[in-house]
């Protein structure tokens, strides 16, 4: 044995009366490494509350909870992630997946408290000492678990596009659609922003799964115009898409189109539910646009006999007569309408209410009436000379193009306005070989038209003249009514009142004029309510029927209840909102007919 073997046991005695190291220095400063994954931080303003972090967390350490002072709005659930550090394993997958990039981690790892329940908080909402820490874990630049780039949509080139009325957008192939569908994280923020509240994550999943019948079934739950909306929907859903907070939003509209395009009309009946047995009730619908036919579809599914009265020779409303075929080919629209008619919905074409048949007669002959007549009256420029023969109405020009009539626009065309009708009229004129100026009173960023429409109109060759206040239309010299001078005042945008939109103010002396063969006015449209008499009992305020939450305008004695919806009633003025109104009214009418009260 060695002498050390005898001494060693006694050596420990010198430590016996010392305090343990951990007691003497319990919280010694030992900072985490610069990229250490410590407590979370969240930029609560950039976060959209999509819950992708919650979905990816393997430990169920994240819950989306209401955050004080944050309301739900389009593209933001109003919720924020709460982290439970009793469960968190600090893997940082939540940071890596976060679509908006708002989540990160500090390198702080020390948090001492006697109460075990406190280790759970909402970063970015509940203040912590490590908020704003420059150190910690961030997603590396360029590193993404999610693909931020949208699968490009094959389209005709601009030169080729303006040479014909061929459809501009070709549509996704299966591989492209599935790849694009893979980008969706199923957060559902889009559902709230869609006026029809379509099950968007559901049908995108159907694309991923290759189950087109399921996709079609989900589409028809809330929207019987998937071919049309798959092409021309205003796609508010994409503005709300959480993927769009850090990259391109998922191409929801194109995926909807993909599903509808994959299923032949003859196969629809196999995929879609059957209607209820006949109820013995009859419903009249005025207007065969998307709103009227949406109501017709859902009423028909409830077993009611539906007759739609349409003043035009073809059904479709503004989808047919207001949207050019290069955006919405007629066969696609006919497919949507064809399926609705196949269910037994009768469309009486060329019948005008108020001329051929009175509303009071419909109230007598039917059990309920739904009005969805849209906005067919074009508003005038309201400047001197607006009655000049070369001043045309934008909606009428588009309707004539649909009917295949000769437009006779001439070589130089001015389009006045900044909405979708103006863009469609401009692009139609381009396809008829005209040189086109679009004159708008405000700035490009103020234009109510879809940004895509404006961009494409410009790319196809239209010249945008911003801040042009219409002043007058005059006969062009030596033109004898064949051409006109459009006179405008250049404007500057002035913020006249705080919190309100800037006002175009004429620049003194900056009066300009252009000689045009046609001036297409597209400043706005209004309703034609001349068919509603006072005796019909339909309340109207400022040229708009007043309706309840189901679209009911009156159930006054003397006839069937009258419902109304679509552009006639709502402020959004787009097809998907009209479709949603039609669905809602169908529910209201069905409840009323079955005595459940609207």
């Amino acid at each position: 044995m060695d002498i050390k073997d005898f001494i060693a046991p006694f050596a420990v005695w010198k430590r016996a009366f010392e305090k343990p190291f951990t007691v003497k220095k319990p919280i010694d400063e030992r900072p985490g490494a610069p990229r250490y994954r410590g407590f979370h931080m969240n930029d609560a303003d950039a976060c959209v509350g999509c819950g992708t972090c919650e979905a990816i967390c393997m430990n169920n350490a994240i819950d989306l909870v209401p955050a004080a002072g944050r309301e739900a709005k389009d593209g933001d659930s109003g919720l924020r992630p709460r982290i439970d550090y009793g469960r968190c394993c600090w893997c940082a997958l939540c940071v890596d997946i976060c679509p908006s990039g708002s989540l990160s981690m500090s390198n702080e790892y020390v948090w001492i408290d006697r109460d075990p329940d406190v280790f759970r908080y909402v970063p970015g909402v509940e203040a912590k000492p490590w908020d704003g820490s420059a150190l910690g874990y961030r997603r590396a630049e360029g590193y993404r678990l999610l693909d931020e780039d949208r699968v490009p949509m094959p389209e005709l080139g601009h030169a080729e596009a303006v040479a014909s009325f061929l459809e501009l957008v070709r549509g996704y192939s299966r591989a492209q659609a599935e790849k694009e569908a893979d980008r969706c994280v199923s957060c559902g923020l889009c559902i709230a922003s869609c006026p029809a509240h379509m099950d968007i994550p559901g049908y995108i999943k159907a694309v991923r799964d290759g189950d087109m019948d399921e996709g079609l079934r989900l589409l028809y739950e809330t929207n019987p115009f998937p071919e049309a909306c798959g092409r021309v929907c205003t796609h508010r859903c994409e503005e709300a898409c959480s993927i769009g907070s850090g990259g391109d939003p998922v191409a929801i509209r194109w995926l909807k189109r993909y599903i509808a395009d994959q299923v032949e009309l003859s196969d629809y009946a196999k995929a879609l539910p059957r209607g209820a047995a006949p109820s013995g009730k009859k419903v009249a619908i005025v207007g065969a646009g998307p709103g009227g036919l949406s109501a017709a579809y859902y009423l028909s599914m409830q077993g009611h006999a539906v007759t739609v009265f349409e003043a035009e020779e073809a059904a479709g409303g503004m989808l047919r007569y207001g949207i050019p075929e290069y955006r919405l080919p007629y066969p696609a629209l006919d497919k949507d309408i064809g399926y609705i008619e196949s269910l037994g919905v009768s469309i009486s074409r060329g019948v005008s209410i108020g001329k051929d048949i009175e509303l009071s007669k419909l109230r007598t002959d039917f059990d309920a009436v739904y009005l969805s007549t849209g906005l067919p009256v074009a508003y005038g420029l309201e400047v001197p000379g607006e009655d000049h023969p070369r001043v045309l109405d934008g909606v009428a020009v588009l309707a004539r193009a649909t009917r295949g009539e000769e437009l006779g626009l001439g070589g130089r065309v001015a389009v006045i306005g900044g909405g979708n009708v103006a863009m469609d009229a401009a692009r139609t004129a381009l396809r008829h070989g005209a040189t086109v100026d679009i004159l708008y009173r405000r700035r490009e960023e103020d234009m109510p038209a879809d940004a895509d429409e404006v961009r494409e109109a410009k790319a196809e060759g239209a010249r945008l003249v911003e801040k042009a206040i219409p002043l007058e239309v005059r006969d062009a010299p030596d033109a004898a009514g064949e051409a006109a001078l459009f006179i405008w005042n250049e404007a500057t945008m002035v913020q006249k009142e705080p919190g309100k939109r800037p006002v175009p103010e004429p620049i003194p002396g900056a009066v300009r004029e252009g000689r045009y063969d046609s001036i297409i006015a597209a400043i706005g449209q209004g309703p034609d309510l001349s068919f509603i008499a006072e005796s019909d009992g339909v309340p109207v305020k400022r040229f708009r029927p007043v309706v309840d939450s189901f679209g009911m305008a009156t159930r006054a004695a003397g006839g069937a209840p009258v419902f109304a919806g679509g552009d006639l009633v709502n402020d959004r003025k787009d097809a998907i909102s009209a479709i949603a109104d039609g669905h809602r009214a169908a529910i209201g009418i069905d409840r009323l007919l079955y005595g459940k009260g609207a």
Partner: protein, 151 residues
């Protein structure tokens, strides 16, 4: 335009507001469908409210109107001056007629304010100018939101 006293000034204003009521009544008689009539009835009720307000001020002997002039959006000045109310009048036609009517009243009071020599009387007309500017602005806002959405 004998408006040299406070009472005469308010009588003039009262006359303008009553004329406005008659204007909408006349249009309403011309109207051919319910939407026109309900809109005109609403605007007529507003003018009747103004008649009551000015009658009240006349009885009290004081003008209780804000001197704040509404911001001019410039629409009225550019609108075609010709009014063409017909049986088929649209919402646009009705609003244009309303805007031009308020504009004319404002211009009249402006001239009277310029011509008034008594400070008290001048103040009355200036407040009436401000009041008419607010009425005009109300209709211009409606025009912007309901008619000229795409422009």
């Amino acid at each position: 335009m004998d408006a040299t006293t406070f009472a005469a000034a308010l009588d003039l204003a009262l006359g303008r507001e009553k004329a406005a009521v008659a204007f909408y009544r006349e249009l309403s008689a011309m109207a051919s469908f319910a939407a026109q009539k309900s809109t005109l009835a609403e605007f007529m009720a507003m003018e009747e409210g103004h008649v009551a307000m000015i009658s009240g001020m006349k009885a009290k002997g004081s003008v209780a109107l804000s001197p704040t002039v509404a911001v001019d959006l410039g629409l009225a000045a550019r609108m075609d001056a010709e009014e063409r109310p017909t049986a088929g009048m649209t919402f646009q036609d009705i609003l244009v007629a309303a805007i031009k009517k308020e504009e004319r009243s404002g211009v009249l009071y402006e001239r009277l304010a310029e011509a008034a020599s008594q400070p008290g009387l001048k103040s009355v007309f200036e407040r009436l100018v401000a009041e008419e500017s607010r009425h005009k602005r109300y209709f211009e806002d409606l025009y912007e939101s309901e008619i000229s959405k795409d422009n």
